[in-house]
């Protein structure tokens, strides 16, 4: 929470002196409520191995979250943005999803450059382009983008160069960052999840009790901290063509020192991956696909590395029918752990199907019905007496008010 407050101060000190002169200050907000029929298994957010946000069975009203986004156009070229959220899943938390300043001067040529400094999400998701880093298509993002929201945040600087042609546009983003050293911990210790619980500066992520220091107390960690002194990087190339679509290719490497750890035992996970995304429209149908392939490694003892490979891919089809917006997504995910126990390779593999129907009867109101089914096998589950295979179904009715 101290770090959260520190970021508020940083943003405030950057923005407040200029607010007097800023002509363009905007506030946006949302609040989200759900009626959830949860699967019987305990959710990972409560220390279990369930892959959904909600668990332990039953049908209950749940708080989906609330957020506030503030922007200030300090000068024609300088934009400041801050986004905070309030969540009660796991425990009540106020966190900062993004807080950055972007300098983008006008360019009278096809080339345009900009630089962005602060805390922000890397440009991976082709789903989450709505307020609060939510998806306009489903309540629950794909496994890939669930993880991006949980453990990835760029706290550093990104430079961007655009080339704007008549038929297409190219963008190259490249960033240097710190404070993302634990990224990968969840994929190794918990595996993939499908959850819209986006973490922020000030959040603490919960590991499965069985993989932590014991079944209790809960083991939580700050996903956005420095462990060691290394600087990570990513580069992303984005191509957009009107009428054809968009392709995005990224390489990410947090360059964390796998031997480094905190006094409380949180390791720096050296994580790297390649991510590719594409989207296109065929009539009113929007197609979105993303693929991610990477690995994360720690070295708790000299010369003994534990490496987890991870992969996932999804295909989403969303139908733009004005106020109605049905969507269907299928995906596959897997991890492969270099360790093996009794000759049985550790890791997981699974598939998920998400069907959602969105209705926007008013600009300020979104109603969503969603069914999520996850069919997976994870060997770690046998350690606590569970069958390695699990089939989870989560049904949600959501109402979101948007200001």
């Amino acid at each position: 929470m101290m770090r959260c407050a520190w970021w508020f101060c940083l943003l405030g000190s950057a923005v407040c002196p200029s607010l007097v002169f800023a002509q363009d200050v905007d506030l946006h907000a949302y609040i989200d409520g759900r009626l959830v029929a949860a699967p019987g298994e305990t959710s990972w957010t409560k220390g279990g191995l369930g892959k959904t946000r909600f668990g332990d069975g039953g049908t209950d009203a749940q708080f989906g979250g609330a957020g506030l986004v503030g922007t200030a156009q300090l000068t024609p070229a300088l934009l400041a943005l801050g986004e905070i959220q309030f969540q009660t899943t796991d425990r009540p938390t106020v966190s900062v999803i993004e807080a950055y300043v972007r300098y983008r001067p006008v360019s009278l040529s096809r080339w345009r450059w900009s630089v962005q400094v602060g805390a922000f999400l890397p440009p991976i998701s082709l789903e989450n382009d709505a307020i609060g880093w939510t998806s306009p298509w489903t309540l629950t993002p794909s496994a890939i983008n669930s993880w991006v929201g949980e453990e990835l945040r760029v706290i550093g600087a990104e430079g961007r160069v655009e080339w704007r042609g008549d038929a297409n546009t190219w963008e190259l983003h490249s960033a240097l960052f710190r404070r993302n050293d634990p990224a990968g911990d969840l994929l190794a210790d918990r595996g993939w999840s499908l959850s819209d619980l986006t973490s922020g500066l000030g959040s603490r992520l919960r590991e499965p009790d069985e993989a932590g220091s014991g079944s209790s107390p809960a083991h939580r960690y700050d996903p956005f901290q420095n462990i060691g002194s290394r600087i990570g990087w990513y580069a992303n190339l984005d191509w957009r063509a009107a009428g054809l679509g968009r392709i995005s290719l990224m390489r990410y490497d947090n360059r964390a020192d796998p031997t480094a750890h905190t006094e409380s035992g949180v390791f720096a996970w050296h994580t790297w991956f390649t991510s590719m995304g594409a989207s296109t429209d065929t009539g009113p149908i929007r197609w979105i696909a993303q693929v991610m392939d990477g690995a994360t490694v720690i070295e708790p003892v000299d010369g003994m590395q534990f490496k987890t490979r991870f992969r996932s891919a999804f295909l989403l089809a969303g139908w733009n029918r004005g106020n109605w917006r049905p969507a269907l997504r299928i995906e596959h995910f897997s991890t492969h752990d270099g360790r093996s126990e009794a000759g049985i390779p550790q890791g997981e593999h699974g598939n998920a199907v998400t069907a959602a129907l969105n209705w926007r009867p008013r600009d300020w109101l979104r109603l969503t019905a969603e069914v999520l089914r996850i069919d997976s096998v994870r060997m770690q589950r046998a350690d606590v007496g569970l069958s390695p295979a699990s089939m989870l179904t989560q049904v949600q009715l959501g109402i979101r008010l948007i200001y």
Partner: protein
């Protein structure tokens, strides 16, 4: 029904004046919907002239409301001027890097730019550097017979002399690099009304209109 009225009105108008021919063109997209903002140009195939007008340069207002340029397309003749007016409560940074004209104006709420003379023929795409989803197009043409389709998809050119012409079409959402849609037009007599139709294959509208769910920063 409205289309029928318009055609009847056009025919009546033609019969009443009987002094020159006209061309009426209807634009639709692949789904059969009327297409507005399509620019129609009629160029004579031979020495026939198309009733050149010697109108003095005009000044047009390009407004900005609800983070949208109005109009989406403005047809100009070389020498015409444009003024960008900001009717929003937020600041805009209007600019263009078009080959025919580069410019930029930072406009506070309620402010208008100086008049900008557009002297060269061509197209200038105009955007806002603060709000990337805003776009408008200045279509500058020296062709004397030029018109733009309205919301019902109709464009009309009148006071045309008999002769052979080619109808050319431009729209901001035509596929770049593809052949320009054209049709031959023959006007046989002074009182002729020639009707044409174009079915255009258009790209999605590049503008993103204000939506509470999508902030687009």
């Amino acid at each position: 029904m409205r289309c029928l009225f318009m055609v009847v009105a056009l025919l009546l108008g033609s019969a009443c004046s009987a002094s020159a021919a006209e061309v009426v063109v209807h634009f639709s997209d692949a789904q059969g919907h009327a297409v507005n903002d399509a620019v129609l140009m009629l160029t004579p195939d031979t020495g026939t002239t198309a009733n050149p007008s010697a109108a003095p340069p005009a000044t047009y207002i390009i407004d900005q409301r609800d983070e949208t340029f109005i109009p989406y397309v403005q047809v100009l003749r070389p020498g015409d001027k444009v003024v960008f007016r900001n009717s929003d409560s937020t600041r805009h940074h209007v600019y263009s890097f078009a080959a025919i004209k580069t410019f930029e104006f930072v406009l506070r709420p309620g402010e208008s730019s100086p008049a900008l003379s557009m002297d060269q023929a061509g197209v200038a795409a105009v955007g806002c550097n603060i709000h990337d989803h805003m776009a408008t197009y200045l279509f500058v043409s020296a062709v004397s017979a030029v018109a733009m389709s309205s919301h019902d998809g109709y464009a009309r050119l009148d006071r045309l002399a008999p002769g052979r012409y080619t109808a050319h079409v431009w729209h901001p959402q035509l596929h770049p690099g593809r052949a320009e849609p054209i049709q031959s037009v023959i006007i046989a007599g002074d009182a002729d009304t020639v009707q044409l139709s174009f079915t255009l294959s258009l790209l999605p509208d590049p503008r993103m209109f204000m939506d509470r769910e999508h902030l687009d920063y």
